[in-house]
């Protein structure tokens, strides 16, 4: 499968996790590219072939990381039809702030879903205050996710 990992990060942790995911997916025979989102990232990136993995943290009062804001705002303004897009979500948060735990990943998931994109599998949550290390569980999760993606067949669009 061809997979693009989209990284939303403030501290760099999600980027570290994405680098590990990339290695794991490649090891499983997939073609992978990691994109750390920036202000030049526009909605057209969803026209790429293949599926997408969002590897995204949460910042401040449950916001998406700063490097995701331009893309989010453009998606909200343009509202492109993303019916051909399939994606998975690895959401990083800190349960110390339980009111907003993983809201960054969740809000971006809702946005993509509202544009017709199809999420494969449930959101995978990771709590920075737990003993579960995202750089360990992220690669394991993403390989299983890619199997579920393959099993789900071609997009209906």
């Amino acid at each position: 499968m061809r997979i693009t990992i989209l990284v939303g990060t403030m501290s760099g942790t999600a980027e570290m996790v994405a680098e590990e995911m990339e290695d794991a997916l490649r090891g499983a025979g997939h073609t992978v590219e990691t994109l750390v989102l920036d202000d030049a990232s526009g909605p057209e990136l969803f026209t790429r072939d293949g599926a997408f993995v969002l590897c995204m943290s949460t910042y401040g009062s449950g916001n998406v990381p700063d490097n995701v804001i331009v893309l989010r705002d453009a998606l909200e303004a343009d509202r492109p039809d993303l019916a051909q897009v399939r994606y998975g979500v690895f959401a990083l948060g800190d349960h110390t702030y339980q009111d907003t735990f993983c809201h960054g990943g969740e809000s971006f998931d809702r946005l993509l879903a509202s544009l017709g994109a199809q999420r494969i599998g449930p959101i995978r949550y990771n709590d920075a205050s737990s003993s579960e290390l995202p750089e360990d569980v992220g690669p394991e999760w993403v390989v299983e996710w890619a199997e579920a993606l393959a099993a789900s067949g071609e997009p209906v669009a």
Partner: protein, 412 residues
């Protein structure tokens, strides 16, 4: 190869090291740290019950172990070698020394037993080798002066019950010592109004989750008076007022109160404040902690002015740079320092020249000649492993709190 020395292994130094090796394949970085252990504010500033925030250390750990990065722990510039000697070995030197000296209020009674600066108190509960052991006595009422996140950390560490430190790295001995205090009230006092408070809203809201403490606001009317400029912090404070709960400990927020004196005969007995229109009040206190900011300190021959090293976009002069709190004062978040590191790394990758300097190899040779006991990355990893291994089952780590104990691990 171009060689860059970064002084200080805190968040700014580690982020910059990471960004420099990403920015240029011909840059090698030495990260030089005064203590045997890295991570600065992440290890010694971030509160022991905020392990999620401390988790960024795993990122820094990878950086220090990266191919073109070398860690020189237990090396102090200005003591073990002169700044000029360091500069002669590298193409560029970056000060990432943070801001470790606490600001003082400069009011009467500040040296009374029972009065702590935030450096001593936070360093104490985080096991900093330079901090005195925290010894409290019969604390029924504590006054925390300041309206930033350090004040919230101090208040929260005091307010939590012992069981709430499960999973943290607060030492069990200190946990028991805090639990022995007959604490009833923690006053958090700001010199300005509630809308000016610098609390991170999520950290203020976290007080809702405390098991044994309720939050009150001394003058709820002040929240409405400040209400024209809606702020998220005000909303959280109003929420506390609107939903009172009964708990054994009260955390009481006061605003617009200027501290004027710490009073007591042999120990602290109270703190005096002057409020709006000159109204004076005295809060009884057996403990006071001033959390009113930090400033950077001299590094070798480089001396700061007004608490920071004067710089132009991170550049001090030819081959000299500064980043983080040493550059702009004690404001900004840990992730924010990554953005600054990216910018400075891009600039340095473009403008640092290759002078054919000796870099890390030269530094190691010089220090070994002088008998300096370098703690390298492997040495730190042994200290790290020993701290985790000796931790109690409900703690993630039991820190060594002296440099001697850290070096002892190296000797084993």
């Amino acid at each position: 190869m171009r060689h860059v020395a970064i002084i200080g292994a805190g968040p700014s130094g580690c982020y910059l090291a990471d960004q420099l090796v990403r920015a240029a394949p011909d840059i090698e970085v030495s990260v030089i740290e005064r203590l045997p252990v890295p991570f600065g504010l992440v290890r010694y500033g971030v509160a022991p019950d905020h392990q999620g925030t401390k988790a960024v250390a795993r990122l820094f750990e990878r950086t220090l172990g990266a191919e073109r990065v070398r860690f020189f722990g237990h090396v102090e510039v200005g003591t073990d070698l002169a700044m000029a000697e360091l500069a002669a070995l590298y193409d560029a030197v970056v000060l990432a020394t943070g801001a470790s000296r606490e600001r003082k209020l400069g009011i009467p009674g500040e040296t009374l037993p029972g009065v702590f600066g935030s450096g001593a108190f936070v360093g104490g509960y985080n096991g900093h080798p330079d901090a005195p052991q925290l010894r409290l006595a019969g604390v029924r009422s504590a006054v925390v002066i300041g309206n930033g996140n350090v004040a919230l950390d101090v208040a929260r560490v005091l307010a939590k019950a012992a069981a709430e430190f499960a999973g943290s790295d607060l030492s069990p001995v200190l946990t028991a010592h805090l639990a022995q205090q007959p604490l009833e009230t923690i006053h958090v006092v700001g010199r300005r109004g509630p809308a000016a408070a610098k609390f991170t809203t999520e950290e203020l809201a976290e007080f809702r989750t405390l098991a044994r403490a309720a939050v009150e606001v001394a003058d709820p009317a002040a929240l409405d008076a400040a209400g024209s400029a809606a702020s998220p912090n005000l909303e959280v404070l109003k929420g506390f007022v609107a939903n009172p709960v009964q708990r054994p400990v009260v955390v009481c927020f006061h605003f617009n109160q200027q501290p004027t004196a710490f009073v007591g005969d042999e120990r602290l007995e109270g703190v005096e404040f002057e409020g709006p229109a000159g109204a004076r009040q005295r809060l009884a206190a057996q403990l006071a902690v001033t959390c009113i900011g930090y400033e950077t300190t001299a590094c070798g021959t480089l001396v700061p002015q007004r608490g920071v090293f004067a710089n132009e976009q991170g550049r001090i002069g030819e081959g000299r740079y500064v980043i983080g709190w040493a550059a702009h004062g004690p404001n900004g978040t840990i992730p924010g320092s990554r953005v600054a590191a990216k910018a400075l790394a891009a600039r340095m990758a473009a403008e640092v020249a290759d002078h054919q300097r000796a870099g890390a190899v030269g530094l190691a040779t010089l220090l070994v000649q002088r008998g300096v006991r370098i703690v390298d990355h492997g040495g730190w990893q042994r200290i790290d492993a020993a701290e985790r291994t000796r931790a109690a089952s409900d703690r993630c780590r039991e820190k060594f709190t002296s440099v001697a104990a850290m070096l002892q691990v190296m000797a084993q």
